[in-house]
């Protein structure tokens, strides 16, 4: 695919376009790291690690701004069409979702800074295990979704897109467990709220990962049937 354009102008902006993909991949990796560290920090009650996550928040924002600037430039200079146009739109939308995932990581880190788990009881341990399981699932979905911008794989995309269903079940189950513990008064309210908020953040991240897979799908095929949107 070296000799693109056969029209009037040869395509000079192939490099710029693959750079856009690279930006998504890099931002995706950073965001993935943030989520992973936030989860680890929570698990190990590591305030220092949580603070690192918070400190890196501005890096993610900077990456978003840089990507936005690049996108605007590509549009202004090259007015991309067809698959190029879809690429630019997909990247632009992805960057927005990645930034929001970054925010979730920050939120999770703040949760730990604000309220620490006083004592770890077997009950809290088992609830944490549930959150951890969600975390592993979320990280793998995020990783796969971001990878789609590096190498397209329809099966993987469909897997991520179906992921929110898997996750919805997990989140509901986790919520249910926490509620039960609360009703039995064996868990204090603060810990319960933290766990639910954490689980909710993970739930939102997996929805963003789903969006990423959809944008990648849009770039390849050009569209979704949104008529069945609930």
């Amino acid at each position: 695919m070296n000799d693109r354009g056969e029209g009037h102008t040869f395509k000079r902006f192939d490099g710029q376009l693959s750079n856009l993909h690279l930006m998504v991949t890099k931002m995706g990796q950073s965001v993935h790291q943030q989520v992973q560290d936030a989860l680890t920090a929570f698990r190990t009650q590591d305030i220092a690690l949580a603070q690192k996550v918070l400190a890196r928040h501005s890096d993610i924002d900077r990456m978003e701004l840089a990507a936005d600037a690049e996108i605007v430039e590509v549009i202004a200079r090259n007015s991309p069409l067809a698959s190029d146009l879809r690429l630019v739109v997909a990247v632009s939308k992805s960057v927005g979702d990645l930034q929001k995932i970054g925010e979730e990581a920050t939120r999770m880190a703040l949760l730990l800074e604000e309220i620490r788990l006083e004592s770890s009881t077997p009950l809290i341990e088992s609830l944490m295990d549930g959150v951890d399981r969600m975390g592993v699932l979320v990280l793998s979905h995020l990783d796969t979704a971001v990878g789609l911008f590096d190498q397209w794989d329809e099966q993987k995309a469909l897997y991520v897109i179906a992921g929110h269903q898997r996750m919805d079940g997990d989140f509901q189950a986790e919520l249910h467990r926490v509620m039960t513990c609360l009703l039995e008064e064996s868990l204090d309210v603060k810990a319960a709220v933290r766990l639910v908020l954490l689980a909710k953040s993970l739930d939102r991240i997996i929805h963003h990962a789903l969006n990423l897979a959809e944008y990648a799908m849009f770039e390849i095929y050009g569209g979704f049937d949104l008529s069945s949107e609930a």
Binding site: E6, L85, Q151, W152, Y221, G223, D225, E229
Partner: protein, 296 residues
């Protein structure tokens, strides 16, 4: 949160496109001249013009290799493609002007409102009045603005007296949206007009004989952006009453004014479809390559 389900891929060539767009196949599908049959909706239920397996040879060299396409009523269809693809040749088949070239052989059929214009015994000139043509460079007659329009009316026997003629000329200019601009200088020489004005006059001249179809071969190519925009606006207004086939080198211009777009490459119709889809999600990888590689 919104729950989306994945619809069916928008086009059947999805797998092909996927392989090509994201690398993969060892052999380059563009290297070969073998094209898949054209994709897209080339049929229209009530066509104004229907082309069937249209082939043109110049001195034995086939430059149009079997184009089958319907052109509907009240639509602007743009024809895009690389230089030398056969766009102008295709256009000139629709009014049999192509036959004026030397060593030219035309095969296939073209129906205008169901009538085969290439049928034996059909006089090539008889239906020229039903199909108007506008050329890349404005070519007004070296006469007055008024005469440019009146001449066609007269030779087609559409007027019987002077007063009828002048009122018809006015009507044509009004219809073309040019009356306000030209009414006060009707008897100025057409060649004194700017290129943009001359081109609009040529469109008015094409309208004068009340055609059903207007063929435009890159009508904006010799004009500056502003004059081009005025022509585009005119095309959009004329769509209400005419069928317009527009050959355009400017993809932007094609995207702005046409409802359907046909992509011709190496004498073949590769793909035809609704313009908005062609410019965002073309089905054929060759179309994608042309449209994206061509973006200005």
């Amino acid at each position: 949160m919104a729950q989306r389900t994945l619809g069916p891929p928008l086009f059947s060539g999805a797998e092909v496109a996927q392989k090509i767009l994201r690398g993969g196949p060892e052999q380059d599908p563009f290297a070969s001249d073998q094209l898949a049959p054209s994709v897209g909706e080339w049929r229209s239920p009530k066509p104004r013009v229907r082309c069937e397996d249209l082939r043109v040879r110049f001195a034995g060299r086939e430059v149009l290799k079997g184009v089958t396409l319907d052109i509907g009523r009240n639509e602007v269809i743009s024809v895009i493609g690389p230089s030398g693809a056969g766009k102008s040749t295709f256009l000139r088949c629709l009014n049999r002007m192509v036959e004026a070239s030397e060593h030219c052989e035309v095969q296939g059929r073209v129906f205008l409102d169901g009538e085969d214009i290439y049928a034996p015994g059909v006089d090539a000139v008889s239906f020229r009045g039903r199909i108007g043509m506008v050329f890349p460079k404005p070519n007004p007659y070296p006469k007055s603005i008024y005469e440019n329009v009146a001449y066609g009316l007269r030779i087609h026997g559409l007027v019987s007296c002077k007063s009828e003629e002048s009122s018809l000329v006015e009507l044509v200019f009004r219809q073309a949206g040019l009356w306000r601009e030209f009414s006060r200088r009707l008897f100025a020489p057409a060649l004194s007009l700017t290129a943009g004005e001359q081109q609009r006059l040529c469109i008015a001249r094409a309208l004068a004989v009340n055609p059903e179809v207007i063929l435009m071969d890159e009508p904006c190519s010799s004009l500056d952006l502003g004059s081009g925009a005025k022509i585009e606006q005119m095309i959009d207004e004329l769509r209400q009453a005419y069928t317009i086939v527009l050959v355009s080198h400017s993809l932007k211009s094609a995207a702005r004014v046409s409802q359907r777009t046909a992509f011709i490459r190496q004498g073949r119709l590769v793909e035809v479809g609704p313009t908005d889809r062609m410019f965002t999600t073309p089905s054929h990888p060759l179309t994608d390559r042309f449209i994206s590689g061509c973006s200005e």
